[in-house]
Amino acid sequence: MTPIIEARNITKRFPGVLANDDVSFTLNKGEILAFLGENGAGKSTLMNILYGLYSSDEGEVKVRGNSVDIQGPSDAIELGIGMVHQHFQLVPVFTVAENIVMGTEPTQFPFSWFAFGLSSGIVALLSFLGAMIGLNNVGQWLLAALAGGGIVAGSYLLFYLLGRISSQKAGVYIPVISAIGITGGVVSALSQGMPGQIPLYIILSILFAAASYPALRVLATALDRHTAARRIRELSEQYGLVVDPKALIEDIPVGIQQRVEILKTLYREADILILDEPTAVLTPQETEELFEIIQTLVDRGKSIIFITHKLKEIMSFADRVVVLRDGRVVGETTPEESSRGELAEMMVGREVSLVVDKEPAEAKEVVLEVEGISAEDDRQQTVLRDVSLSVRYGEVLGVAGVQGNGQTELVEVLTGLRTATAGRFHILDQEMTNASPRRITELGVAHVPEDRQRVGLVLPSPVFDNLLLNTYYKPPFAKRAMLQFDEIHAYAHRLVEEFDVRPPNEELLVESLSGGNQQKVIVAREFSRPIKLLIAAQPTRGLDVGSIEYIHRRLIEKRDEGTAVLLVSVELDEIMALSDRIAVMYEGEIVATVDADKVTRRELGLLMAGSSLDTLKEA
């Protein structure tokens, strides 16, 4: 049997990076093929090539045995390839149905025929009355056109009711008729007062015909929201993917958004589905559901490629695994033939231990005391509800939770970047509720922000500027509001060396650094101040293993120096490895706070999915 996809020797270069280096693989019908690899191993690039978002520099792709050239997503869709992107490609202000049908919308004829009949009527009448009879009053034309339009509209309606023209066909025919007519009409109208300029009329006719057909084609097709909703409901039932077609994307949770993404591919009748890191934003329970859905899809004859860096998912789930590292295929195996350890080694290229050595924490006095904080997100929805927690000197409090459960807002409130609508918090016994970021920073609070590029760095500025982002105004960097560049450069140079920022040049623009080194700049800035409390949000997101290790080591160092650490992360492993205590957030609330050594992954997963401690114990 020919494989449904066969990719040979795919190579893709980006400036300075070889993203895919001679990658080959095959996908068979009804198979679940997993691509395993670290961030930056080239998985997403490969999939984007398959989906036509990138074009490969070398290599060829065969689909169902035919060599194909996928120029863009529409080609991929044509070939039956559908892709669920890591970042959902959904328009937040559109409804579920609109998102699903966009690009291949069901249409109907608008205004129950009248408008188009009308335009055809205008046609006929303008051309005949205008040119032949020689009426010279535009109002008379229009009135006549209105009457004629009614007649033509009526006759169209009659045809339609008699079933002689289907809606789809009418959407083509009528614009054609109308375009010809409108052209004639307008040209004859224009010809009033300048008789005899034949070439001009010819040009105008061509112009109008060329312009009016596409315009009328657009006008002649209205979105058929009923059919769309019906089709979606049918698909939902068929595959067990329940969604409300009329809900707005921005109002539904990510799990459902992912269903919408899958429905999008199914609606296009894709039989090859590419899922790019589908579980990154899901709770363990939602992940289970997703796997069930995928199983259903495979049962109905779809073939699946899915991308992950989570070993567990592969072991439980994939038929075959392709491991990528640095853009190359480093191995191909099946879960049965291989162990988690082997896969991990293949993926990273060396033996890794994600366990951080650390001493047990010594509980000391409280640094951060949060009491009943609530806050709203940018859309004025309450997303943080009555959160209380405390962090002490020398301990790491991990905040676990699936992304989007209020952690972002919690960190923003604690660092002064967002207003709390209720509750208060103290840092070092001083009330800091809704204090300015500056006051909070000056108290000795460091903040490693979640979105380092948007919030933590000024990308088009040099490294030394970024190293001073929250100390620029203090001596010795500034004297009487004048920046002291000698001091600044010396300081920056020292930090760059100390924190091993590569390349070690403080004059470089931050945007030219790699993600890991950008994060090092932030860490250097935040850790080299005298700090009492460190708030780190997703400190290792998107970094390579080496950088992750480095940052983890630095964090624990800080804790051992006696700093209080509040660590927010969606990576369960990271939380478990670093935290002394763990607070779990769900839907903006803290559902439980537990000691790190007294809880299992499974329990945490359940908590993250909204179970309470009590139910856990019962279970």
Partner: protein
Amino acid sequence: MTEEKQGLGLFKSRIAAWPSWAKLVSVAALLGVIVLVSKWLILLLLVALGLWPILVLLGLGILGVVSTRHGGWPWMKEWLGTKLKPLVLPALAVLAALILGGFVIMLTDNAAYQAIGAGQVGKGIGLAFKNLVRAYVALYQGALGSPARILSAIFRGAIGGEGLKPIMGAVRGPSDSLVQSVPYIFAGLAVALGFRSGLFNIGAEGQIGVGWLVSVIVGFSFPSLPGIILLPMAIIAGALAAGIWGALAGLLKAETGAHEVITTIMFNYISFRLSEWILCGPLENVQGTCRTKDVVPAAYLPKFLDHPVTMHWGFILALLAAAATAWLLFKTTWGYEMRTVGTNPDAARYGGMNVSRTYVLAMFLSGLLAGLAGVSQGLGLTHNIALGFSAGYGFDAIALALLGKSNPVGVVGASILFGVLRAGAARMQSLAGIPTEIVQIVQSLVIVFIAAPAIIKAVYRLKDDGDESRQTVFSRGWGS
């Protein structure tokens, strides 16, 4: 840092050792001397400007002689390359814009069309070209004078014993160009400062009017004050008023998120309407003139030379303002805040900066600089304000800031270029009958070519060396 200090460094460290009174006295003395000889310095500057092609050729010659000691042409090429690199793209953009403008002039030549219509195609094309050359020669001479005339004037002045009079006439062009560039420099700095802070101040035109009006009001309201008090007072009052007018837009943005592009445009219209009322109403000096009283002479920005050279101290003020803006932006914590807010307001907030305050401050300073443009016009040239004062400096300033890459030095250069174009336009109109708006067309083309260097690079087949500095991004959507 044990290395021996040499030359300037040594000099600096010696001066640093002086007692502070000695520093003050010496600075004052230096300033005094500069003021005393300023008349001659300015005259020298104008003559040099008029003779620049000769000076450049002379300089190239000297460079050529020097280069023989360093290995000749390759060394000279490299030296020129490093010095001129940042000028290449703007120069080519201006050149391309002038060439395109030339095509526009030729294509709209009625006389040529008439000739072509009469069947004399060759003559028509020749005529169009002749008219174009005439127009551009007039443009050049109106703006920078004619070197031949300047040389002969110097000759007549020095040897013929006619004194300064002929030279004054000969350097009128360069002087006009610089005088025209004064409001451009201020307004360009205003917009550039806004750009650096992430604000797009289209309201400079209105702010210019406010500054102009207020400085003139102060200038005639206190006739008994001595100039040493009155002049600074009028300048500061005008600048502050315009700053506050500008800060309103900043305040609106900071407090409500109203996009400054819309609000500043609206403030422009409001200030135009109100100034119409105030000029033909309460402040009208003589019934029927729609003009305020004249500023007392004590409040004039002094002129350096006699008529017809109109160079006044506003030019020096403008240069000082450019230096101050550069210093503020790049050497102070305020500037650091403004630049950070301009490139990434989220990071600025994270860094503990007060973004709202910075917006207000930046709009205040921007308005203040724009106001100085009006002040320099009011106290330096017209000495009053009348209906129809608006000259579009505020809108051209956008182009200037872009052309100068929002860098004060660049803005000064671009302003002088625009001053040159504008000063020459009048001569071009009077001699060749080309409407002055050709300058506007050329200006907009210059912006296009500067903002989209890819076009210029494609036209001149330059290598894309990818060293374009990132452009400030304003379009973050309206409101919120």
